[in-house]
Amino acid sequence: MNKKGLIISGLIVIALLICKFIPASILHKPIQFSPAVSTMIVIVMILVFVFVLIRTIQGKLIERRVVFVFVGVALLLPLFMQFTLPFPISPEVQSVYDALERLEPGAKILCAYDFDPPSAPELQPMADAFVKYAFERDLKLIIMGLWPQGCQQANQSIEAAFVEHPEWRTTKEYGVDYVNLGYQAGSEFVILRMGQSFKAMFPLDLYNTPYDSIPMLKNVRNFSNVDFGMNFSAGKPGTVEWVQLAVDRFNLPMAAGNTAVQAPQVYPYVNTGQLIGLMGGMSGAAEFERLTRRMGKANTYLLSQSFAHMAVVLFIVIGNVAFIRERREKK
């Protein structure tokens, strides 16, 4: 790395260490910007965009690292702001909530956690809200995963529920109210085999307890003994495979939460009714949190998401304004 890079790196490291170890008497943490400061920041960002527009029209595209810094600022600063913006609930998310509301207490839900840490910012908030809602309504959870990291992410959801409601640590019993069957390799073949017998595919749970020893699984042979399916999916294997097998072949009523990358591809299944509902990306997670009255990370992150989207849209508009102007000048 050259001298300039070393100096920049050093300055960043020093700044971060100052932020970490600065005494509370100088800087009270957590930092929250007042509405006036937040408004000033928004005005400054707009002025910077005007500057970028002028430079781009002059034919001087700004360097990509400047774009990176601007996107980073657009993502970071809203985390310190206090704005809460209202937004409507989409029909697909409402359908998920309505389907869950129709379940009776004691109903068994098969939860498939098919995601890993990179997708956690989008899917973990909706999974956490779902588990809290299920525990509140006394719905029984049969957790498993087609991704190996899924069952650990599921344990994080359980732990988040227990942190918010410490009384659930004693009132919610493993094996009676929830069970974690773990992971099996095989993708769609796992679902296919589960269609005949859950026990054949998961002879032991995550903690090596035999399937037959788990009280809540006594009368659960396959999908026909489960009342509902809930899938949190980041890709393949995931929602598409669950729809193709569990829903279409074994008639399991199912809803899903997907990352925003996957959600557009799953909309046809919602339209046909193969999926009861869909929570897509962080906005879907935020809507579900609002419906279940469990405001969490998704709602906190939504302001940053808004700023980031606005930044990308403005960058595209600026680039195209310059492009159209250039084309007219050539003509």
Partner: protein
């Protein structure tokens, strides 16, 4: 025999799964169950193959002192530490007085998952946020009608799916804000396009699966 046996295996196994959809009873149902169980075991070995191949390639690089060979040492060390801790915690959990899973919070394996694997994997994918913004600024141009349609759809969806879209369109009548437009684009226009792609892929996949089962498509066998 190097090609005939694999082709026969492909045909028999493929036919069992296809027929078992219509005849789930004995013997096809039973064979499907056996094959599904074997698939899970073979899939595990396939993962092992990938991991061991990585170690083999890294070891070759170290042995021949190729450029950046110290990084290959780091790959092998990381692999051995993670795998070693996982096996140790697994056996420790099996024989403990109160059995626990090697993945339980508090185990060394879970510590590696939370402190090493999670931040690295999450940040790798998160970097794309910056590149997508930079690429959009430099390359996304409305050169023709099709590109303009793509751009407009992206705008409506990006702004409509976050609260800022409705904030910018509060002056419109209720039911016509940006979020409603985004919903309509996703549930109607996007559904139509995705459905066309889905049906096209399905038809292609059906014909290709038949070709594979009948031995007409042999690319997966590689050369002799």
């Amino acid at each position: 025999m190097r090609r005939e046996i694999p082709l026969a295996i492909t045909f028999i196994v493929g036919v069992v799964f296809a027929v078992a959809y219509f005849i789930p009873h004995y013997p096809f149902g039973k064979l499907q169950d056996y094959f599904s169980d074997w698939f899970a075991i073979v899939a595990a070995f396939a993962i092992w193959l990938g991991a061991l191949n990585l170690v083999k390639m890294s070891a070759i690089k170290v042995g021949r002192k190729r450029p950046d060979w110290p990084l290959s040492v780091l790959i092998i060390v990381s692999f051995l530490i993670t795998a070693g801790v996982g096996f140790y915690e697994g056996y420790r959990g099996l024989f403990a007085s109160q059995t626990f899973s090697f993945r339980d919070p508090g185990t060394a394996f879970d510590w590696i998952y939370v402190s090493v694997y999670t931040p690295l994997s999450a940040t790798m994918f998160a970097l794309l946020a910056f590149f997508v913004a930079s690429a959009s600024y430099r390359a996304f141009r409305t050169r023709n009608l099709e590109a303009t349609l793509l751009l407009l759809a992206a705008f409506f969806v990006m702004l409509g799916r976050v609260p800022i879209g409705d904030l910018l369109t509060t002056w419109l009548p209720p039911g016509y804000q940006m979020s409603q437009w985004a919903n309509w684009i996703m549930s109607v226009l996007n559904t139509a396009g995705q459905r066309a792609i889905m049906i096209g892929i399905a038809l292609g996949l059906i014909s290709n699966s038949l070709r594979i089962m009948l031995g007409l498509e042999r690319a997966y066998l590689g050369g002799d």
